[in-house]
Symmetry: C2
Subunit: 224 residues, 2 copies
DNA sequence: ACCTGAACACCGTTCAAGT
DNA sequence: ACCTGAACACCGTTCAAGT
């Protein structure tokens, strides 16, 4: 039983940065960002905690890398179609990525060191608008308005915890019980007469607001 | 020098929950949310760390309280004027509060236990729209779209670190140096030909996007 | 009812040492 | 070049004890 350093117990394969980032994303997806620690991540990967620092300079760098990985999952705006279709597609793909990785929602737009995938994505969005004939200033307006809306909606949706329409109904009902209509009459009315009605789904609001912005932008662009 | 338990060294005055919340907000404003710890906060207030738990059930409760305090600083939508003016005013007041308390930006819309000031605020917004003749469903659209945009813009603005136009120019210049136009041609063009031009101020984008949404909403409302 | 220190189970990261 | 354990300076919170 002694001297077991044989071929079957050779040192584990060295990690890749990407491997490490994917493992961190997986951990955050499964257990939430608050339980992503350097110690738990190294345990997940089966190595010493400090070995992580050979691939990542610190935890902030780890997070930056994770976010850039998420950006790499997002569809670039398609070139061959109208800018409205391309922008709608990107917005949908963005929302899908944030649904897969809810922990990323507060982080994607607040980190200050964008990675290459992030920059490529933003470059493609701007390129799509410029190619569609947007003047530079309108491109800037479109970029600011769309991204603000997309990120903000995801943030709000997460906090409202509107998973399925059924969950929504349960939560709304709890709200109505907890806060009598006397104190917050309008909130109560909106909840009872609208949110609690059959067929209501908060997710539907996403495209409505998006169209509002896209339609507004269309009027700022010279027609082809 | 012994037995100093005299009138001048009596026990410190008991804390109030509000006092404690204001001190926490002040600490977060001055040093950033990442250096707000129960230990540092109690030190700031001159008491034992565990004394905080007599006024706050845990750190999450502390954060919830802080956010509700921030909401109490925001102007309610004014009733006497048009809904456009009221909504614009609220949006501006919201932005001002988030500028005063940048640490609150990611938190105001992602916490799941809204306090009374938060609920009062949302109730007033919904009430303003209903009073203006908005159908319930359009009220829901307006609420979702406006809040998404307002929070998202603040988040983006913070990450872009666009403090003053001068800072913007400095950052943009650093960006251009770091990333040659070859790799991100459209991003480079927007930066050089638009962002780096004199008079550019990202803050101006706020009202432009806001008007886009307000104008779009106006078309969904029966005219008076 | 309010306060508090000690202790516990965690963190991220520096350092010095291994291969 | 990559790996790693021990140690340091932090966390939030439980507990048991004080007034």
């Amino acid at each position: 039983m002694a001297e077991q350093q044989e071929s079957s117990t050779e040192a584990r394969a060295p990690w890749t940065r990407t491997q490490l980032l994917r493992a961190a994303i997986d951990l955050a997806d499964r257990r939430g960002i608050e339980s992503l620690s350097m110690r738990k991540l190294s345990q997940e990967l089966g190595g010493g905690t400090m070995s992580l620092y050979n691939h990542v300079s610190n935890k902030d760098d780890l997070l930056d890398g994770m976010i850039d990985e998420v950006f790499s999952e997002i569809e670039m705006p398609a070139h061959e179609r109208s800018w409205q279709v391309a922008m709608r597609g990107r917005a949908m793909s963005m929302r899908a990525a944030m649904t897969r990785h809810p922990w990323a929602i507060g982080l994607m737009e607040s980190r200050r060191t964008p990675g290459p995938a992030t920059l490529r994505h933003h470059d493609a969005v701007i390129g799509c608008l410029l190619d569609a004939g947007f003047p530079l200033s309108v491109t800037a307006h479109a970029f600011a308005a769309l991204d603000s809306y997309i990120y903000g909606f995801a943030l709000q949706e997460r906090s409202l915890a509107f998973g399925t329409p059924e969950e929504t109904a349960k939560l709304a009902q709890a709200f109505v019980v907890q806060f009598p209509a006397k104190e917050y009459p309008h909130l109560a009315r909106l909840t009872i007469e609208h949110v609690l009605q059959p067929g209501y789904d908060y997710a539907d609001e996403y495209e409505i607001g998006l169209n509002l912005i896209l339609d507004g932008l269309a009027k700022l662009v010279p027609q082809r």
